[in-house]
């Protein structure tokens, strides 16, 4: 039997199976969204494909009962891990009134759900970084041991808000973890035209915090790095910057055509490292994922997603006039 890495990280077989299940769920919902988009049922998709390992590995390293996340638009793995359901996500994809993220006001991928401590996100990139720092500041002020995790793309790490947010966190030694999901592209622009440094994590030193680059296709490596960062944060040792390197397996979004700017071979090459394949293999080799379990999981998830799709498709849109609601608090 192959090396058992998860046990040495303190993860049980159930936990790693749960991680895999969450990754698979994200992938399958994502794939379904594309089908729905291509058949004209939903206007827009933006994918998590290629980043599930990072998202789920990081989330499992946090305390999902009390920590906060400020995810970005690809983070289906994060929000699923933090309690959002397939149905919630489908309601968002179909822009239906019951969508807990925004009541159908925002595009899919614009996550937010207070009960699960998922901060509401917008489209302008990187604005969530200072928000997560603000949560960490509040946590520190209240002497809680709550940690916040914020994610973004590598292109987005060039926005001023990244710099200002991380420096604020560094100066005040706040319990916030910034995870840059480096998928090598920002729409059509490759990493070397985005970022002058070798690694995004090279920027950490400029904010007086440790920085790490880890394999974003390996959920256990990401788990390990984020767990250590969360421990430091709870110990009052301040923030951490983590870069997870993987690859964006889909076009930027359903509106994009990536053949205009990258070679098919490059994509095919990256698919070989797809975490849904490699982590499955790891679990199989470790004897954790049996054929039966796999079949069962596939069936279970397919049913959940079918049900969620049906429910969302049949759910009502918000009333036109409800567009007028919630500009300001209603108690006024």
């Amino acid at each position: 039997m192959a090396e058992n890495r998860h046990q040495s990280l303190g993860l049980s077989d159930e936990q790693v199976l749960d991680m895999y299940r969450t990754m698979l769920m994200a992938r399958k919902i994502d794939e379904r969204m594309w089908l729905l988009n291509r058949s004209g049922k939903i206007p827009f998709v933006i994918s998590c494909q290629g980043q599930e390992a990072a998202q789920v590995g990081a989330s499992f390293a946090l305390d999902r009962e009390k920590d906060y996340v400020a995810p970005y638009y690809r983070d289906m793995g994060v929000v699923l891990a933090f309690g959002m359901t397939a149905q919630d996500l489908m309601l968002s994809g179909f822009a239906k009134a019951e969508d807990p993220n925004s009541g159908g006001r925002q595009m899919p991928g614009h996550f937010g759900q207070k009960k699960n401590r998922i901060l509401s996100g917008s489209s302008p990139v990187t604005t969530q970084v200072p928000h997560a720092v603000g949560v960490a500041l509040a946590s520190k002020m209240e002497k809680k041991d709550i940690v916040s995790l914020v994610t973004l793309g590598e292109g987005s790490s060039n926005q001023g808000d990244f710099h200002e947010g991380l420096n604020f966190a560094g100066v005040h030694k706040l319990p916030v973890i910034t995870m840059v999901e480096n998928n090598k592209y920002a729409i059509s622009v490759p990493q070397e035209k985005q970022i002058a440094s070798k690694n995004v994590s090279d920027r950490a030193v400029g904010y007086g915090m440790p920085g790490f680059t880890v394999d974003g296709n390996d959920p256990l490596a990401v788990y390990e790095a984020v767990k250590a960062a969360a421990d430091r944060a709870r110990n009052g040792e301040g923030p951490t910057l983590i870069e997870t390197v993987s690859y964006r397996l889909t076009p930027h979004s359903s509106d994009d055509d990536d053949r205009t700017y990258r070679e098919r071979e490059e994509v095919e090459e990256a698919k070989k490292k797809d975490s849904l394949i490699t982590f499955k293999k790891y679990l199989q080799d470790a004897g954790v994922l049996t054929e039966d379990k796999e079949k069962e999981m596939e069936e279970e998830l397919t049913k959940i997603i079918n049900d969620a799709t049906d429910y969302a498709e049949n759910a009502p849109y918000a009333e036109p006039e409800s567009a007028l609601k919630y500009v300001y608090a209603e108690n006024e």
Partner: protein, 327 residues
């Protein structure tokens, strides 16, 4: 009732709110040990400590954005922008994030944050320490913009802003800070955001304005009273969203309306006020709606000759009121 200056009313409101609610905290550049470059947060660092009166790095987008995050968590941040002119790096956080938080999350999340900033000219501050910036924001549903004219209003409105469940921009006229004094009750009162206030009842001409200019209009009105011209003065107090009802009522009251702002003319708040009047009071007007404003140049120059030329003052207001009364 104690008499205090406009800036003392700011400090008092902050202090009382921080005493009342431990979720209230202050953040900004030099607000801590230094007590603010205008000393608006004077004494708060000593009373509440550096955890609740935070000297931030020099980065306005972070000041706004970190405040938003803390507000989402449940805090009541009061951020200071050292000068209103320096709010510009924070526009994305204010417009894209704070203003849209409640709406975009379908009422799930909110960003109850106050952003204070000293604005306005007449203090030899030159182009970048003199601007009126409200019109940049006064087109963003989800925001509220308060611009008080008196110490009494400052205290009541700043407390209301801090307690408000939505983001409020609170612009304080820096020349008013020490120039304008008035009675301010010791007790805990708030004034309603979104409501204009009649500062003087009159029957001949209506002046609608806000901020420091209210004081100019009141001074002008006293002089004109001697000439038998009786001015009605409406203080907008909240410049966004506007109090339409009060504007319509004030316009109808005299049928002659002068709108005054220290800002440039085109694109300013008073253009919006005029549009409300044009839409609702056409048949009640005895004269065209007049606008008295700064010239359409980028900002107030430093040299005293040009600064004076740009800056609003009681004489300019008086002249415009007289011309309108005589129309």
């Amino acid at each position: 009732m104690p008499v205090m200056s406009y800036i003392q009313a700011v400090t008092k409101a902050l202090q009382e709110e921080m005493q009342r609610d431990e979720n209230v905290f202050v953040l900004g550049e030099d607000v801590g040990k230094r007590g603010g470059v205008f000393r608006a947060t004077d004494g708060l660092y000593d009373e509440f400590g550096e955890e609740r009166v935070i000297d931030t790095p020099l980065a306005e987008s972070a000041i706004a954005g970190v405040g938003i995050g803390a507000a989402m968590y449940g805090k009541r941040p009061v951020a200071e922008m050292q000068f209103a002119d320096f709010i510009m790096p924070a526009v994305n956080q204010i417009i894209s994030e704070a203003a849209k938080m409640r709406y975009r999350s379908n009422n799930d999340w909110s960003a109850p944050m106050t952003i204070r900033a000293p604005y306005g000219g007449g203090v030899h501050g030159a182009l970048y320490h003199s601007q009126s910036v409200e019109s940049v924001f006064a087109n963003q549903p989800g925001l509220k913009i308060v611009m008080p004219s008196t110490p009494y209003d400052v205290k009541g409105l700043l407390k209301a802003a801090i307690r408000d469940d939505d983001p409020v921009l609170f612009f304080e006229h820096k020349r008013a800070y020490r120039l304008i004094k008035g009675e301010v009750p010791e007790d805990d009162y708030t004034l309603p955001i979104g409501k204009a206030d009649v500062k003087r009842e009159g029957s001949d001409v209506t002046v609608i304005t806000y901020g420091l200019c209210v004081n100019f209009a009141l001074q002008a009105a006293e002089k004109l009273a001697e000439e038998g011209i009786d001015a009605h003065i409406l203080d907008l107090r909240t410049v966004y969203p506007l109090d339409q009802e009060a504007i319509i009522e004030a316009a109808k009251k005299t049928g002659k309306v002068l709108l005054v702002t220290e800002d440039n003319k085109e694109g300013s708040i008073i253009g919006q006020v005029s549009a409300i009047i044009a839409e609702n009071c056409l048949f009640d007007l005895d004269a065209p709606v007049q606008r008295l404003a700064g010239p359409d140049v980028p900002s107030m120059p430093y040299a005293p000759t040009m600064e004076k030329y740009f800056m609003m003052n009681p004489d300019k207001v008086e002249q415009a009121m007289r011309d309108l009364a005589e129309f």
